[in-house]
Structure formats: structure tokens, C-alpha cells
Amino acid sequence: MAREQRLTRVFVELADTLVEEFDLVEFLQTLTERCVELVDTDAAGLMLDDQRGNLQVVAYTDESARLLELFELQKAEGPCLDCFASGQPITNVDLGDAATRWPVFAEAARGVGFAVSHAVPMRLRRQVVGALNLFTVAPVQLSPEHLAVVQGLADIATIGLLHERAVRDQVVLAEQLQTALHSRIVIEQAKGVLSARGGTSVGEAFRLLRSHARRTGEALTAVAEAVVGQRLGIADLTADPTGPAPSP
């Protein structure tokens, strides 16, 4: 499929989820996954400012991206943090050449196989509310067109935050973040419950949750809550296996 077509399809997919039963975590998860597909990168992670002095990881395409994001937060250095602090994109950074800039982070990122990193800011009016991080295994640079797509997706992530405010009363950024993080925890708890009941890996458990949510049109968080609340069993989720959904 031509890239323009794929891009259009992703925009339509994301716009379709901007409904009343909006699930912020699922939206941001889908967004990071599509970003990786659209611009041929290998992993993505998204951090949001909790408005209380901390950045928090709310979406990631695979475990290595999540661990790197957490690593950045622990070591207080890396592309996402610099991008968040400056409000500027920090793109096409050769990690083999970043030992001065981020001595600990660059080594850790290369350790899990990444050669290049990109970070673009999520802006809400004049405030920077988060950052989107991308990693590539091959030592290739992203073109200006690709970087424009990445920034466009980061802008759409901000639209997701605004949309949630529009459909809920009195919601402020700090609360959105707290709720999103708890949704993320419910999803992790459900992955554990499901993997124990079905004897599968947590990654496979996530695919089951995801494909059930897609199939039924329910929010991912609602499906996860139904699983931990024992209203949905492993049989319900495996009843109609569609193709593999994206990880994790």
C-alpha cells in the first residue's frame, strides 16, 4: 500500500476512536504502534507529564522500549527528557555517537540493539505535556517527511488528551494522567490473570485482550476490568480468534 494510503488509513482509524467511550491508554497504545509501522522504525514509547514533577510511561510497543523509557527516567538522561525539557524535537541521533550527550542511556539503548533515536514533543498550547520516542535498529536516518509524520502523530496524541477532556466533566491533566496510569496497571493485572488461566505468556495474553476489544468494540481498559472482575473468562477471549494483534 502506498504510504499516503496507509497514513490516511491510520488517521481514520484514530479519528474513529474519538467517541464518547474513549479510552486514552488504548488510543496512545494504537498511536505508538502505528507510528512504528508508518515510518519504519522498530520501537516507540510515549511519556506524559503527570503535572506533579514526573514523566510517566503510558504506552510502548515492546518491552525494550518500555525499559529504555524507565531507564531514562531513573538515570535522568536521554532523548525523551531532553525533548521534554527543551520542547524541541531531538531526531536522528546516532546512539554510537551520543556517549558525551547521554553516556548511560546511549550505552543501554545500544545494548538492546538500537542504533538511532528520535524524540518529538507533545504540545498543548504553550505547554509541553509529553514526548514520543522512537528507536531504530538499523543505522538509518528518518527523512524530513517521516519526521513530519511522527510530529503529526504526537500532535494527534495531544488531541486525544483534549478529546477526553471534552467528553468528561471537570477533568484536568493531572487527573487524566493518574487515571491513565491506573488503566495501564489494570491492563497489566489482566495480562497476569489471563496468562495464569490460559497457561500463556503475558504477551499472548495482551494479544487476546486486544483482539477481543477490537472485535467487540469495547474499550481495552473495560475488557481488562472484566477479566480481573471475572466477568470475562479465557474461553470468551479465545472463542473467536482473529489474526494476531500487535504486541506487547
Partner: protein
């Protein structure tokens, strides 16, 4: 979500307190002093509803908790059920329609605004922090953010108290539970199935075992996920 700020607030309540039973009221008083509210109450919640008051800074705050415990309705009940804050800056205008039984009692006690903040670890419902004002008025975004830091500190406090003194180590030890530790939350789900207990009890089992074995809860969680450590009852497998 255990931000540095909530860790500070929790540590401040912990510092210099010889008596563990004093902890809740110290945290609530600090919260009440720091924000433009009249009083603060802390209630335990389960999936079935309110389970009792832990502490309250004054009589109206206590009345607010008692009312919701007795009636089974009110902002704190809704906050716990939905997992989201319920903010009622003008109770007289909104409460009579939404919670008919609760509204009369709350207004009679002099409560004019309520901000109910749920205390949870994902799907585990622990309690609710209720802030009230004796005159109508909203909290600003900054004040609400600070209130949320107090609610996270209260969550840490409940986890700390729940575990009893053996597991109740310094705040750093309880912090990973609330922090972004996917493995711990996944392992909680696994243990709840293997041991046949609720998620809340599963988290307690994990913490107790980590404490008994002098290990980081994250390492234990990793072993649970890898099948190295098993919480199934003896003699059972797969």
C-alpha cells in the same frame, strides 16, 4: 504514579511518628492545612462498598464518611466504583438529584463542597480520600494536582498499614508497588489465579514473601512470571 511529591508527603507523615496509628490523621491534617479545604476524611473501600472510616480531621468530615458507610451512596462511593475523582464544588446544587439520601445529611452537617479521590492500584480498590469545604467553591488545577499527590500518599499509607508492621518498611520499599512496575502488576494477576485470592490479597502475598525472603518485589515478580516461584497450594500444578 507514586510521584516524588507523594513520596515526600508520605515520608513527612511517617517521620517522627512513633505510633503507627497516628499516621493517617497526620497525613490528613497536612492535607487539610495545605489546601483550601475545611476538613479531610479517609475511608476504606472494597468492591462491595464503604468498609469504615480510618480517620477524619473534624466532626463534619467524620459525618461525611459515616453517612456514606450507612447509606452506601455518595461521592466517595461513586469515586471508588468508577476509579475517578468525583468533584462536587457546590453540593447544594448537585447532590440532591444525584444522591438524595446522602445530600440531606451532608448539607445538615455543614458540608458544601466535596472532592472525593479514589485510592487504588489498578483494579484493586483500597479506599477514598474525601476533602470537604464548608462553603461552595472549586479547587484550581494546581490545587487538584496537589490533592492527587495527597491521594497517592494516602494509597501508600493504606498499603503500609494493610501489610502490618512486618512488611511495613521504609517508603522506598512500598514505592515499587505503586510505581510503573509492569512485572509486579502482572505477577499480582498470576498469583491471584494460582492462590485463588483477590488481586488485593495477591499483592499482599507477593509483598509478604518478598519481605520474608529479603528480596526486591520486582525480582520476585519476575520469578513468578518465569514460573520459578509458585503460589499454587501444595500438591497442585497446572
Amino acid at each position: 504514579m507514586a510521584s516524588r511529591r507523594s513520596a515526600e508527603l508520605f515520608s513527612a507523615a511517617l517521620a517522627g511518628s512513633a505510633d503507627v496509628t497516628e499516621l493517617p490523621i497526620r497525613l490528613l491534617r497536612a492535607c487539610s492545612d495545605a489546601l483550601p479545604v475545611t476538613g479531610v476524611g479517609l475511608a476504606l473501600m472494597t468492591e462491595r462498598g464503604p468498609a469504615g472510616t480510618i480517620a477524619a480531621t473534624d466532626a463534619p468530615a467524620a459525618a461525611l464518611e459515616d453517612l456514606q458507610f450507612t447509606l452506601g451512596e455518595g461521592p466517595c462511593v461513586d469515586a471508588s466504583r468508577s476509579g475517578r475523582p468525583v468533584l462536587q464544588p457546590d453540593l447544594a446544587a448537585t447532590a440532591p438529584q444525584r444522591w438524595p439520601a446522602f445530600a440531606g445529611g451532608a448539607l445538615a452537617a455543614g458540608v458544601r463542597a466535596v472532592f472525593a479521590l479514589p485510592l487504588r492500584v489498578g483494579a484493586i480498590r483500597l479506599g477514598v480520600l474525601d476533602l470537604y469545604r464548608n462553603s461552595p467553591g472549586a479547587l484550581s488545577a494546581g490545587e487538584l494536582a496537589e490533592a492527587l499527590s495527597y491521594s497517592d500518599a494516602a494509597t501508600l499509607l493504606l498499603l503500609h498499614l494493610q501489610a502490618g508492621s512486618p512488611v511495613a518498611g521504609p517508603p522506598e520499599e512500598s514505592m515499587p508497588v505503586l510505581d510503573d512496575r509492569a512485572e509486579v502488576h502482572q505477577a499480582t494477576g498470576v498469583v491471584s489465579v494460582h492462590a485463588g485470592v483477590s488481586l488485593g490479597e495477591a499483592l499482599l502475598l507477593l509483598r509478604a514473601r518478598a519481605f520474608a525472603e529479603h528480596r526486591a518485589i520486582r525480582d520476585l515478580a519476575r520469578d513468578v512470571l518465569d514460573g520459578v516461584v509458585d503460589f499454587r497450594p501444595d500438591g497442585e500444578s497446572e
